[in-house]
């Protein structure tokens, strides 16, 4: 494994994974549209997978650690299933209410948020 | 580097040229139909050059057959997808570009 300025290839991808997780989390909180929230969740899960596969490369020897690989494979499948479920929910919310944007009024109606 | 290596690298460079030409066409052409033309033709030709160039360096016939099958699948899928997208564009009323006089 070659290093470049004290940084190995694995570190580069793990750092990118951390950045992707932060970007996805920020998007999940700030974007109001439901489809954007689903996309943000997918992006941050991709960041977590990058960090996990980066950890798998840290064992000595050419063959990476198989345990994080198995976890990432399971995680990809779970992410796809939860994405499909979330999209089905968002579609029925759109059909019911005519929009798919989480507004403050929606929260107020259910009594979750009380202003003042 | 042996002669085979030199020929292989030349073929790979030719394939890269066609890929770059395809990207340039997708960027520069004026409407959907001409962009589809650049995409499906130039890129599939470039992939063909790649397959030939990598086949010269392959170890066994199995690898060569597999790469040729991948190329065939890309050609068939590209033609189908191009036809679908072009027909959807025509149905939804995208007017083909004409050279302004």
């Amino acid at each position: 494994m070659t290093t470049f300025a004290g940084l190995s290839q694995t570190d580069l991808y793990a750092l990118a994974g951390a950045a992707l997780f932060v970007i996805g989390l920020y998007g999940l909180i700030t974007r109001p549209h439901l489809l954007h929230k689903v996309l943000a969740l997918n992006i941050s899960s991709g960041g977590v997978f990058l960090v996990l596969v980066g950890i798998a490369r840290r064992v000595p020897g050419p063959v990476p650690d198989p345990l994080p690989h198995a976890m990432v494979l399971t995680g990809i499948v779970v992410t796809v299933s939860s994405t499909a479920f979330a999209l089905a929910l968002a579609k029925s919310i759109y059909t019911e209410t005519g929009h798919a944007v989480l507004e403050p009024d929606d929260l107020e109606e259910t009594g979750e948020v009380s202003r003042g | 580097m042996s002669v085979i290596d030199v020929v292989s690298v030349l073929l790979l460079v030719a394939g890269t040229f066609f890929f770059l030409a395809g990207s340039t066409g997708v960027l520069r052409f004026p409407d959907v139909y001409t962009r589809l033309h650049a995409l499906t033709k130039a890129d599939n030709l470039g992939l063909g050059f790649f397959v030939i160039g990598l086949s010269l360096r392959a170890d066994s016939w199995v690898v060569v057959v597999k790469m040729v099958l991948i190329w065939a699948l890309v050609i068939v899928a590209g033609a189908t997808a191009g036809h679908l997208v072009a027909e959807a564009a025509r149905t939804s009323g995208v007017v083909p570009w004409r050279k302004p006089r």
Binding site: - | S23, V32, L39, D43, F50, M67, G78, A81, L84, A89
Partner: protein, 95 residues
Amino acid sequence: MKLILVGIASALLLSIIVGLSRVERGPTPADRMLAAQLFGTTGVAILLLLAEAMETPALRDVALVFALLAAMAAVAFVKRAWHPGPGESEKGERP
């Protein structure tokens, strides 16, 4: 030799990045989808190159899946995502 293969793969990656600007400014949705098709074909080429450079034959199978994926995205786009606009001909299939 590996250096040349990875260098060509980097050139193809740059070609993908250049193609991203068509996603940014394509007037119709078809233009954006077409750029995704471009990424599929270029990804197949990058994977074939890396399979030779990294001596991992399994990457050719990944290339096969990439080729299939581009066609699937195009079919999903035409059948489900692209409806004609309100001012245009109303021939699309709304469920």
